[in-house]
């Protein structure tokens, strides 16, 4: 007979679930409100979601304080693992979500924003991602990942036009394949170690000295393929441009930032111990991935005709850049990852919001995508302020100091150099130069070309006050980020360091 299990409630550390539960409760609340009274205005839902996200954020602040004092928190039979990485990642996830959510307050009417389910799914996504980062159990990671992914597929499709369906289907199908990879990889590791918890796996593997290196590598290869999909590493990136193009700009921005940071954290947990324990193959492979991803996506971004697609490739490239942290593996590098991503999120938010603001319902004659470069030509004459802001975002993305991303880049390159990866640092730096070309392309269109005769008035079709506020805030953050870097860096470094990375 099975013995009854006595579990004290305290040892469960139920509180570790708080942030995710808040998001889930938020989602359910929205669904319930809709059941009680349907047809409410979207603004209500947006603000409701914002409130829950704020609560979520508050609980994270609480955790951060707790972590700073007591270190890593385990909960629920050690399934939940709230360490510095988890807290940092959740901060980025929640803040990113809070930034992108108000983009639904458009003046134009879009399909997805008219339905409360959108907001519920949005919150579910957040919850899923939060689960994903705050555990080292492969099962929970998988479930969290799928929760968020399935919600995102739906969110993309809810934009409701044929391109968004196409994007959702592509994303979904490839996601299903990646899920297969993930489960296979997890299976191999489980077969090797008898455990699905990363620290256990690491312990077991190092205990027998990686004697079954072939198995390990097969498992890692599968997991790498799976996270390569999530992190859009070449050649697993092919979904990214299409999905970005097909989804609404706001959604695209969200996808480019929030889910990725979750995947980064998981990748850090999964791969870094392997790199550290001298699995040369993984180091080399990651090196190749980083270089190829950065370079190839930059090269493809060069030839894009659509700003959104260009930004998609650029996001791939940035992801590749950040992946370098996994190879370097020092505290500095891991801190740089978070710093970079925090800076990147502001800027990318601004850039995508800008696209969102000038979104029109129908395509003009001769266009086959929403944000062709021609649309932006001569923008500085018609809308100087908007053009300047977009220009700032582009400069920041290109890594021109003193704008946001530069500091991330600087710190990451610094980490690479300090870690002894000077050649990698050079490659990364030179890639920024390639990337500068396509960011400049937009600047060239906005500032150096004459405006298109007809297109004058329609830039801000979709703008509303809240959108403008967000863009303005993003611009301010981008410009004055230098003052935020130091506190941020100290905060991040202490968290990363105390988590043992």
């Amino acid at each position: 007979m099975l013995e009854p299990v006595n579990v004290s409630l305290e040892s469960l550390n139920l509180v570790t679930l708080a942030p995710m539960l808040i998001a889930i409760v938020g989602a359910l609340t929205i669904l319930v409100v809709d059941l009680v009274k349907s047809g409410l205005n979207k603004t209500m839902y947006v603000m409701l979601s914002m409130l829950f996200l704020l609560l979520d954020f508050g609980s994270l602040v609480d955790f951060a304080g707790f972590f700073a004092q007591n270190g890593t928190i385990l909960g629920f039979f050690d399934v939940m693992l709230i360490d510095g990485l988890a807290i940092l990642a959740q901060f980025i996830i929640v803040v990113g979500a809070m930034m992108f959510l108000p983009l639904s307050l458009t003046s134009k009417r879009f399909h997805e924003y008219s339905y409360p389910e959108y907001y519920a799914l949005f919150l579910f996504t957040i919850a899923g991602l939060q689960f994903m980062v705050s555990t080292d159990n492969l099962i929970l990671i998988f479930v969290g990942l799928e929760t968020s992914s399935l919600a995102i597929y739906t969110l993309i499709a809810m934009h409701n036009r044929s391109k968004s369906f196409e994007a959702a289907v592509k994303y979904f199908t490839m996601g299903a394949l990646a899920a297969g990879f993930y489960s296979f990889g997890a299976m191999v590791l489980y077969a090797l170690s008898g455990s699905v918890e990363i620290n256990q796996i690491a312990a077991v593997l190092s205990a027998d000295g990686y004697s079954n290196i072939g198995y390990v590598l097969v498992g890692v290869a599968f997991l790498l393929a799976s996270f390569g999909f999530k992190l859009s590493l070449v050649p697993f990136h092919t979904w990214a441009p299409d999905v970005y193009e097909g989804s609404s700009a706001a959604m695209a921005g969200f996808i480019s930032i929030v889910p990725k940071i979750a995947s980064f954290v998981v990748a850090m947990r999964l791969f870094e111990f392997l790199v550290q324990s001298g699995v040369v193959w993984l180091e080399v492979t990651l090196y190749v991935f980083v270089v190829v991803t950065m370079t190839a996506s930059n090269i493809w971004a060069l030839v894009q005709n659509d700003v959104k697609r260009m930004l998609a490739y650029s996001s791939i490239s940035h992801a590749g850049f950040v992946m370098a942290a996994l190879i370097i593996g020092t505290t500095q590098a891991n801190s740089a990852l978070f710093l970079y991503w925090a800076m990147f999120s502001f800027t990318n938010l601004g850039a995508f919001a800008m696209l969102w603001v000038n979104r029109e319902k129908s395509l003009k004659y001769g266009q086959n995508s929403d944000h062709q470069f021609e649309r932006f030509s001569g923008m500085v004459h018609t809308m100087p302020l908007a053009a300047v802001m977009m220009g700032l975002f582009m400069l920041s993305l290109a890594g021109i100091p003193p704008f946001g991303i530069f500091w991330g880049k600087l710190y990451m390159l610094g980490a690479a150099v300090s870690g002894g990866y000077t050649v990698l640092a050079l490659i990364m730096a030179l890639n920024s130069a390639i990337a500068a070309f396509y960011y400049l392309k937009l600047i060239v269109f906005m500032f150096l070309k004459e405006p298109d005769e007809q297109a004058h008035e329609k830039y801000m079709t979709n703008a509303s006050l809240s959108l403008k506020t967000i863009i303005g805030a993003a611009a301010v953050m981008t410009v004055f980020s230098v003052f935020a870097v130091n506190p941020l860096l100290e905060f991040i470094t202490s968290f990363v360091y105390n988590s043992g990375y």
């Binding site: 099962i139 369906f165 289907v169 299903a176 489980y190 299409d242 894009q304």
Partner: protein, 101 residues
């Protein structure tokens, strides 16, 4: 002849490969989804086998969750297919190439 873990793993691999072939080969989305089910199923066999040979239940847990995930994927996937089909009348993925480059 003892059936060991390796046998199951090899079987799982073969099934997985079949799934991969299906994923790569199918142009009809619905049939492509079949192939993704095969992928997940093949892994389940392996999980069950490992669980058995290690005498550990975690593998079964994993397999259980994989089944749950597979089921949810079907729901969303079919939903997506339905809207797509309603809009275009096709579920052939060769028709889905408006975005490229």
């Amino acid at each position: 002849m003892e059936i060991g873990l390796s046998h199951y793993l090899v079987l799982s691999t073969i099934l997985f490969a079949i799934g991969l072939i299906g994923v790569m080969r199918r142009k009809n989305l619905l049939l492509l989804f079949f192939a993704t089910e095969i992928l997940l199923n093949s892994v389940n066999v392996a999980f069950a086998a490992i669980s058995h040979y290690h005498g550990d239940l975690t593998g079964q847990m994993f397999a259980f969750f994989v089944i749950a995930i597979a089921a949810s994927e079907v729901a969303v996937g079919l939903g997506l297919l339905i809207v797509w089909y309603k809009r275009t009348g096709k579920i052939d993925l060769d028709m889905m190439t408006t975005m490229r480059g």
